[in-house]
Amino acid sequence: MNFATKLLHGTSCIDPVTGAASVPIYQASTFHQADLDRPGVYDYARSGNPTRHALEEAIAVLEGGERGFAFASGMAAISSVFMLFSAGDHVVVAEDVYGGTYRFLTKVLSRMGITVSFVDTTSLEQVEAAIRPETKGIYLETPSNPTLKVTDIAAVCALAKQRGLLVIVDNTFMTPYYQRPLELGADVVIHSATKFIGGHSDVVAGLAVTREAALGEQLYMIQNGMGAILGVQDSWLVLRGLKSLKARLDVSTQTAEKLARWLSTHPAVSRVYYTGLPEHDGHDLQNRQASGHGAVLSFDVGSRERAKALFDRVRLPIVAVSLGAVETILSYPAMMSHAAMPPAERARRGITDGLIRLSAGLEDAGDLLQDLAQALDALGPVEQVADRDAADDKQAFSWA
């Protein structure tokens, strides 16, 4: 079955009793037990609910894993998955992880005796050098947020296998449509399903999938024990969003590509980050391990004042936290997604005060381009900081 078909028919969502084409919302917290000795599949909704179960099966099939889990938010998925580790364990983490993940690891998990090292996972040497005797896992985000650095998932997984480490990949930016980390050797995939999978800016949700059943059992114990599960109405909304995932991403990615090329020629922009641009450091690797470049790009307008002026002028994109929606969203990582990260750490990761992240939606690409053009034109040319790479980029990409 091809992916597009799998999205709709990968799991049986047909209600066996009524034939309803959409799985019913089982707004029940508890389930009657017919026989003391033969407990039913469902007893208490935290442990299992038919609507949530349908979503959990769907994401497992799409990611090519054994078992799926739905959580109350992306962070609930991340915090629950990290509970696979114990006090004394060490985890190697991609240095430009989402700010919320960084906050959880450094402010909450650290007090539980789990230590982490943040490294540039695009360098296999750095990953290897960070591994200690007590290291139990490697945590990746690729492409990274917001500068879209690409990590070689298969290479990290091969290294991890040698050392007996768990590999966890946050696949939020790519979704299983473009990238399936479990097939590249990862053990757990995580999603903020609030983003592309839900896709409509209307539900906060997290998902996780394990490659193997045994690890799935462990994660189930944690999901049920800690109880950070997704509600039934929200499960249904995510399932509904999932059906149009491919159709939405096809359009959004095309738009993102167009905008990235155009932005890289615009004099008001000093730098564009998008893996679909051939000069992006991770371009070839991304082509190898994923089937698309996704709908998120970042660009630098040079300063906070200029970013502010751009936000004031744009008419179409929503200026907001989050991404991966039908609406185009502009956000300001320094004060939004990565506000939880200390300024020095941000600077080290290239999250400058002029950096803007764009998540392309489903609006007409021409309309978006026109809107961005009027806002950027008003800014005037960016001061040419001696950035040879960026200058080279501009020459290479005159908009056709």
Binding site: Q27, A28, S29, T30, H32, Q33, A34, L36, P39, D43, Y44, A45, R46, N49, F71, A72, S73, G74, M75, A76, S79, S86, A87, G100, R103, F104, K107, V108, R111, M112, G113, G198, S201, D202, V203, V204, G206, I222, G225, M226, G227, A228, I229, G231, Q233, L237, R304, A307, K308, F311, D312, R315, L316, I318, V319, A320, S322, A325, I329, Y332
Partner: protein
């Protein structure tokens, strides 16, 4: 196409509370009134009596560095805010937090503690809480001592230099043991410990632990607060600015938040809390009386019975006894036939809903507690727990009695 960006910036006070808060200083409101008024007409634009369900995950910023007060739904959602304010007010606390489940509330609160910290916990405890503590949090170096908090001396003896908090369930689940909250909180305060109370069985309608000296109250709101067996939710209420800020940080960072539809359902349930609790309680008392007299039953645990050892403390610290009744059958052989014969009462896990449920703690709610501990505490294989619903009491009594009679007949040989 024009986009009305001015809407939010002009309406900064969109969620300011027009009536409830401003009235509070002038008019004393009873809990019933506060609960019913929660969210009423707070939507200033439309005046909707029922507060809308905000499904939005993200909120447009009026300009860079400006916010409507809502940025991202995990951090704050308008529908969730109304619920959180309602429970904070009902419990007499400073801040409320809505979580994905009761267990999500417990584990969020446990984020307050660090490796090496120790907590003193009620001996008779919900099995899910015990499982979280022993199977998950113990791996992070948190330590727990389970003691009988009916005697506050046991608490004093269990306190170590690294003890940080006492975690109380009262009445306990499922044995309905009563702990004197004020006495525990006094010892805790003297020793610099936080007092955390799981108030699921009582609800703020019957008991308000913060007023008795506790620092933090927890709820599995799936139970009485929601009240309809249709929504899974947890709530936290804190007292004091510092503790509230810490929980706010953990709530957002761990991310085990409650979705907006579930917030709305819970709020809807809470409006009838008082009516339901009155009926639950009256029905439970009637059934407890009947169970006492029935030959198939050896023990009845209900804090509303005058012979219950915690009766006096309960009367002092709570205004009611709630709707939970546990009882022991003569023999474990009666359990299966009893459950099988029930016609109105459902054999299901959970409690606190309008429908009556019967639970078998040994294999359901308390299955994760090792057998020897269960037996020691008294959660034996003859124990059943009834969550008495709001059906007509005569129908419930008739149903339970016929099932008890039948269980005696079926298991007659072994009972004699």
């Amino acid at each position: 196409m024009s986009v009305n960006k001015a809407f939010f910036s002009e309406k900064r006070g969109l969620f300011s509370l027009p009536s409830a808060n401003s009235l509070e200083g002038e008019i004393h409101m009873h809990l019933e009134t506060k609960l019913v008024q929660a969210g009423v007409a707070k939507d200033e634009r439309t005046g909707a009596v029922s507060f809308p369900v905000y499904y939005a995950t993200a909120y447009r910023h009026p300009a860079l560095g400006q916010s409507t007060g809502y940025d991202y739904t995990r951090t704050a959602n308008p529908t969730r805010t109304v619920l959180e304010q309602a429970i904070a007010e009902a419990e007499g606390g400073d801040a409320g937090f809505a979580c994905a489940s009761g267990m999500a509330a417990v584990h969020t609160v446990m984020g307050l503690f660090s490796q090496g910290d120790h907590l003193v916990v009620s001996l008779d405890l919900y099995g899910g809480t015990y499982r979280l503590f022993e199977q998950v949090l113990s791996r992070y170096g948190l330590r727990f001592s389970y003691v009988d908090l009916r005697d506050v001396k046991n608490l004093e003896e269990a306190i170590r230099p690294e003890t940080r908090a006492v975690f109380v369930e009262t009445p306990t689940n499922p044995l309905m043991q009563i702990t004197d909250i004020a006495a525990v909180a006094e010892v805790a305060k003297r020793n610099g410990l936080l007092t955390i109370v799981d108030n699921t069985f009582m609800t703020p309608y019957c008991q308000r632990p913060l007023g008795l000296g506790a620092d933090l109250v927890l709820h599995s709101a799936t139970k009485y607060l929601g009240g309809h067996n249709d929504v899974l939710a947890g709530l936290i209420v804190t007292k004091g600015e510092e503790l509230s800020e810490k929980i706010r940080f953990l709530h957002n960072s761990i991310g085990a938040v409650l979705g907006p539809q579930d917030c709305w359902l819970l709020l809807r349930g809470m409006k009838t809390l008082a009516l339901r609790m009155e009926r639950h309680q009256a029905n439970a008392y009637a059934i407890a009386q009947k169970l006492r007299e029935h030959p198939a039953v050896t023990d009845v645990f209900y804090p509303g019975l005058a012979e219950h050892p915690g009766y006096e403390v309960q009367r002092r610290q709570a205004s009611g006894f709630s709707g939970m009744v546990s009882f022991r059958l003569r023999s474990a052989d009666q359990v299966a036939p009893f459950l099988e014969r029930l016609r109105i009462v459902s054999f299901a896990e959970s409690l606190g809903g309008v429908e009556s449920l019967c639970t078998y703690p040994a294999t359901q709610t308390h299955a994760d507690i090792p057998q020897e501990i269960r037996e020691y505490v008294g959660v034996c294989d003859r124990l059943l727990r009834l969550s008495v619903g709001i059906e007509h009491p005569d129908d419930l009594i008739a149903d339970v009695c016929q099932a008890l009679d039948a269980s005696l007949a079926v298991a007659g040989g072994s009972v004699r």
